[in-house]
């Protein structure tokens, strides 16, 4: 079985982890077009190459990010989400409301 290097718990069988989807940039939900939103919700690159993904180490409830190759399945890097998400995220107000 594949071994995954958990930034918190070290090398573990991949069966201890839960895949959480690709790390993607969400468009501003109140400002983007329906088109852009549908793209974000349903469509994927799904190409061969390195992708950044959410992975959860279930026994410790720890989410981290793994950089994985989608054909070789090699995991080249795993790191704490704070490396990529540094600031507190805020959302733009709903325009319909602010208009009203």
């Amino acid at each position: 079985m594949k071994i995954m290097q958990c930034p918190l718990n070290g090398p573990r069988n991949i069966s201890e982890f839960v895949y959480g989807g690709e790390v993607r940039q969400m468009p501003e939900p109140n400002l983007c077009s329906d088109e852009e939103w549908a793209e974000y919700v349903f469509f994927h690159d799904n190409q061969i190459g390195l992708v950044q993904e959410w992975w959860l180490h279930a026994p410790s409830g720890y989410w981290f990010i793994a950089e994985r190759h989608t054909a070789s399945d090699d995991i080249v890097r795993t790191f704490d989400p704070s490396e990529r998400f540094k600031e507190r995220v805020e959302f733009a107000p709903n325009p319909e409301v602010s208009a009203a």
């Binding site: 329906d34 349903f42 704070s82 507190r88």
Partner: protein, 966 residues
């Protein structure tokens, strides 16, 4: 029958002092402890062990190493057992397989004569005209399929698994493996040596690398001695490494256990499969591989025959001949496929024993006794060209033919690891390359065959492994072995056929060629069309000749042609080994046993068991109605501990809740609860619960039973991006919870709660309070799910059982009784509350299920908000509505369809008879046009009839919610 055996040192595995009697095909035999079923039978001159898959031809052992399907026999409770691997036990009863009549007289053998009528792929060409006929033929053909019989009453025994961890794991304990283990061990690392057979030594244990076998024996003794006396080498015998999985993860099957071995470095010294020669009748009992004859003698002291011919394409065959001679077998001839003499020494040795040597010749046809039961002689011809022979034939009588058509590396594990096979025309052999890091090969699997080189290769591989681990700076020099052990073309088609390429599937040379003529040129297509290599031995012997034949027929190189993909497992493995001791975790609330004690019918809810109702299942409706009535009229209690519980704490707690759930939470007052709906990014309702605000910076929110883990994971994943200052804590297991509901609920509570003002003003509907109940610290909420005065009580779970006991005791004066999930479903249905995943499906957005009121779009964001906007802006297709029918109407069931004319407009999601409402009530999806109260929806019920139900506004019961707010 008793068996005669050769004198020691032959018979490494047997205990001559321990005779065992057993039964095969209805006859009694005697063997020895240490025998395999096959060796014991051969010791009794019983050769016919099985019938072939297609033509039902008699078959005997080919490899004596568990590498062919010829020895598959039936045990009383187990089909397809390898007789040459299965250890003999006293009183064992085995049968043949795949015959009609008896193993010795198989009516199915007639198919052999019909062979010419059954060309490869014939079944694609017939049996289907005219339309419908196939259905008849299929029944007949299916009966002929399969080999042994499964024992349908078999009761599994205990199997389990264990992880093991080693620095170096070596697969195969032949000379290369033994040497590699010793070399690796010198660095002090932990070493595991895995050997499939029951003794160490591999080829050293049966083959004589020198004329009289002296040096071989010493060599083996020395290596085994050292390995066994080295403390950091663990040895597993009778253990099969059955696959290679990513990161050197190796399942090793031994006894009733599968060891899941993790190796930092892995060395595969799995050896090579001796190959057969393709000529007419090469499958007769009495024809086996040279190595098989050697194993018979060395391991089991069984004399394989009286008069032998050896057919070989390499020097190894000469040793076999000498060994046979030394053991008193009359060797009539050594037939060498090769044009020129390779080893004068060995030729000389043959001459000294007056063993005739026929060069550049082959066996063109093996001659059989009546019914193809056994070999009686061979027709030898000189080779005149590739696969061609001249007309002059020499007939030699013999009862034994040993053949060696060269070797095929045991490539399976390595190819599973991604290694590539390439064919060398000089050496007429496949070799392996492109191994992943931390995986090494040594010995004959690496194309190295002379003993000293094999040992050197073991050293090299082990040193490479040590270098990888930083334990050696030696740079191991590569070992090269120029010896050619494969003849160029050991394939001799015969006009009458029956020259088998694949014994498992009864495939002859022409079958392979014909597949290519039909246009199936790719090796994979050849396999799929002809089924070559698809049998139990998975191409161990058919892969090489097939590659050669297909390459030849399609004008490609053998490398281009290649072999079909190697997939796990290495050997067929019992499901019991893979399943092992099955772990199916289950969860129980603290009150679980109390429910059982009170006669609850339990129903699975995820990994939980929940009470459906309390009472015998035969009267399900009665109990559900009674329990519901009791809650409406008196007071009931239900265990709701399985609901998820999540604490959200910290300065950003309210902001976080506001982003996760559809409702607004920023201004939710402390000490109040609020309904919480969770939509996913597609805007679909996926969970709901009740959020209590314990403090400005502290929320306690419940989830559905099945949704707890998923909601918790989503919450934590979102905040890994949002970086809000909040702690999210899944306390589902930390709390037990009950709902005490009914007009008398407050009276019951008053018995147990002193430190909280329970008056309607002090503790109103939807309020949250903390206090103690019978001395137990508790969180309490006024909830209305079932539509009566109700208190949800959450206590630390180790008090859960005591809480249950307290309530039932305190409630006695008001005849408190427990109610189950099904009763609760009826009660909430009367109140028109939806259950997520029962009244919603994978597409339901809040608008469809009447939850607009729980969606706040003034706030900037909640998960899925934009999708909800988009979907609610679309013209709505369906609406969840309440409906009712008179009590005597046929009752719709959940899943029944709602129709509008011939169109399906929806389905019933909830439906039950309600004593309280005096009729049938339910919820269903309906066309928006039909959704207004007063209109009718048409539901097709069991039996196909349609009932017209009246759409009514929800809730059915207590529309002004007076009762729950008491």
């Amino acid at each position: 029958m008793t068996s005669t055996r050769l004198p020691a040192p032959m018979g490494l595995l047997i205990d001559r002092g321990q005779p065992l009697t057993f039964e095969f095909a209805g006859q009694h035999y005697q063997g020895l402890a240490g025998d395999s079923i096959a060796s014991a039978l051969l010791a009794n001159q019983r050769w016919l062990l099985s019938r072939s898959f297609k033509y039902h031809r008699p078959r005997g052992p080919l490899t004596m190493a568990g590498q062919d399907a010829n020895t598959l026999v039936q045990l009383p409770d187990e089909p397809n057992v390898l007789a040459d691997r299965f250890p003999l036990t006293a009183g064992l009863r085995a049968e043949g397989q795949n015959y009609s009549g008896s193993l010795d007289n198989d009516r199915g053998a007639a198919l052999g004569l019909l062979g010419r009528f059954l060309p490869v792929g014939f079944y694609y060409r017939t049996f289907f005209r005219p339309l419908g006929v196939w259905d008849q033929w299929e029944k007949f053909i299916r009966k002929t399929a399969g080999l042994g019989h499964a024992d349908l009453d078999f009761k599994p025994q205990y199997h389990d698994k264990a992880y093991r961890f080693y620095d170096v794991v070596i697969v195969g304990a032949g000379p290369a493996g033994l040497q590699a283990a010793l070399t690796a061990a010198t660095a002090g690392v932990s070493v595991l040596l895995v050997e499939e057979q029951s003794l160490l030594g591999g080829a050293l244990s049966y083959h004589q690398f020198d004329a009289d076998g002296e040096r071989t024996a010493q060599q083996r003794h020395a290596l085994v001695e050292q390995v066994q006396s080295t403390p950091n080498i663990d040895v597993m015998l009778n253990a099969t490494c059955n696959g290679w999985f990513t990161d050197n993860y190796l399942p090793v099957i031994q006894g009733n256990r599968m060891h899941k071995v993790r190796a930092r470095e892995c060395i595969v010294a799995s050896g090579a499969y001796e190959q057969h020669v393709v000529f007419r009748n090469n499958d007769l009992p009495g024809i086996l591989l040279c190595s098989a004859a050697e194993r018979l003698m060395s391991w089991y002291a069984v004399k394989p025959g009286q008069r032998a011919v050896v057919l070989t394409g390499n020097d190894e065959g000469y040793s076999t001949a000498l060994m046979l001679h030394a053991q008193g077998v009359d060797v009539a001839a050594v037939v060498d496929l090769r044009p020129e003499l390779h080893s004068p020494t060995l030729a000389q040795a043959l001459a000294e024993q007056q063993i005739p040597l026929m060069q550049h010749s082959t066996v063109f046809e093996a001659l059989a006794t009546k019914g193809n039961k056994h070999l009686r002689g061979v027709d030898i011809r000189r080779i005149s060209g590739r696969g061609q022979v001249d007309g002059h034939s020499t007939i030699i009588d013999c009862d034994l033919l040993c053949m060696s058509g060269g070797y095929m590396p045991a490539y399976q594990l390595l190819c599973q690891a991604g290694a590539q096979l390439s064919y060398s025309d000089e050496r007429c052999a496949f070799s392996l390359s492109n191994l992943p890091d931390h995986l090494h090969i040594a010995g004959s699997v690496n194309g190295i065959h002379s003993l000293d080189k094999v040992l050197a290769d073991g050293v090299r591989a082990a040193t490479r492994a040590l270098v990888n681990m930083g334990l050696s700076d030696g740079t191991p020099e590569t070992v090269t072995c120029t010896r050619v052990v494969n003849p160029e073309w050991p394939i001799f088609p015969h006009p009458k056929g029956k020259e088998f390429v694949d014994f498992d599937e009864d495939l002859q040379a022409k079958d392979i060629v014909n597949a290519t003529k039909l246009g199936y040129r790719d090796i994979q297509l050849v396999k799929r069309f002809s089924t070559v290599g698809m049998g139990p031995s998975q191409g161990r012997h058919s892969a090489l000749p097939t590659a050669r034949l297909v390459a030849d027929a399609t004008d490609r190189s053998v490398t281009e042609t290649g072999v079909t993909t190697a997939r796990p497992p290495f050997h067929a493995e019992k499901l019991a080994h893979i399943a092992g001791r099955i772990f199916s975790p289950y969860r129980q609330t603290a009150m679980h046993h109390r429910h059982l004690e009170m006669g609850a019918q339990m129903m699975p809810a995820g990994s939980w068991q929940r009470p459906a109702y309390y009472g015998p299942a035969a009267e399900r409706d009665r109990w559900v109605q009674e329990e519901a009535q009791h809650v409406r009229s008196k007071v009931g209690v239900i265990d709701v501990s399985t609901l998820g519980g999540i604490e959200v704490r910290g300065p950003d707690a309210a902001e976080f809740m506001n982003r996760i759930y559809t409702f607004a939470f920023l201004k939710q007052p402390v000490g109040r609860t609020r309904y919480a709906v969770f939509t996913n990014e597609q805007g679909v309702v996926v969970d709901d619960g009740v959020a209590s605000r314990l403090a400005e910076d502290h929320f306690y929110v419940s989830t559905t039973t099945s949704g707890a883990d998923a909601v918790y994971r989503e919450m934590t994943r979102w905040n890994a991006q949002w970086r809000l200052d909040v702690d999210i804590y899944n306390v589902t297991s930390a709390f037990s919870a009950v709902n005490v509901a009914g007009p008398d609920a407050r009276k019951v509570m008053e018995q147990l709660v002193q430190d909280v003002d329970l008056s309607p003003e002090g503790f109103p509907y939807l309020a949250y309070r903390e206090g103690t109940i019978g001395g137990i610290p508790a969180r309490m909420m006024r909830v209305g799910f079932v539509g009566e005065l109700g208190y949800e009580i959450h206590v630390p779970s180790s008090y859960g059982e005591a809480l249950w006991d307290l309530l039932l005791e305190a409630g006695k004066p008001w005849a408190i009784r427990p109610f189950g999930v099904e009763s609760q479903r009826l009660l909430r249905l009367e109140k028109g509350h939806i259950i997520v995943s029962q009244d919603t499906d994978g597409m339901s957005h809040p608008g469809e299920v009447g939850l607009e009121w729980a969606v706040n779009r003034k706030k900037p964001f909640f998960v899925g908000c934009r999708s909800v906007d988009i979907m609610m802006a679309l013209p709505q297709k369906r609406q969840l509505v309440g409906f009712r029918l008179p009590g005597d109407s046929p009752r719709p069931q959940e899943g029944h369809l709602v129709l509008r004319g011939d169109n399906v407009t929806g389905n019933v999601t909830s439906c039950e008879y309600s004593g309280t409402m005096g009729g049938i009530i339910g919820m269903a999806y309906a066309a928006v046009a039909d959704a207004t109260p007063g209109s009718r929806i048409h539901i097709r019920v069991d039996g196909g009839q349609t009932v017209a139900a009246e759409v009514v506004s929800l809730p059915f019961y207590d529309a002004d919610n007076a009762r729950q707010e008491l």
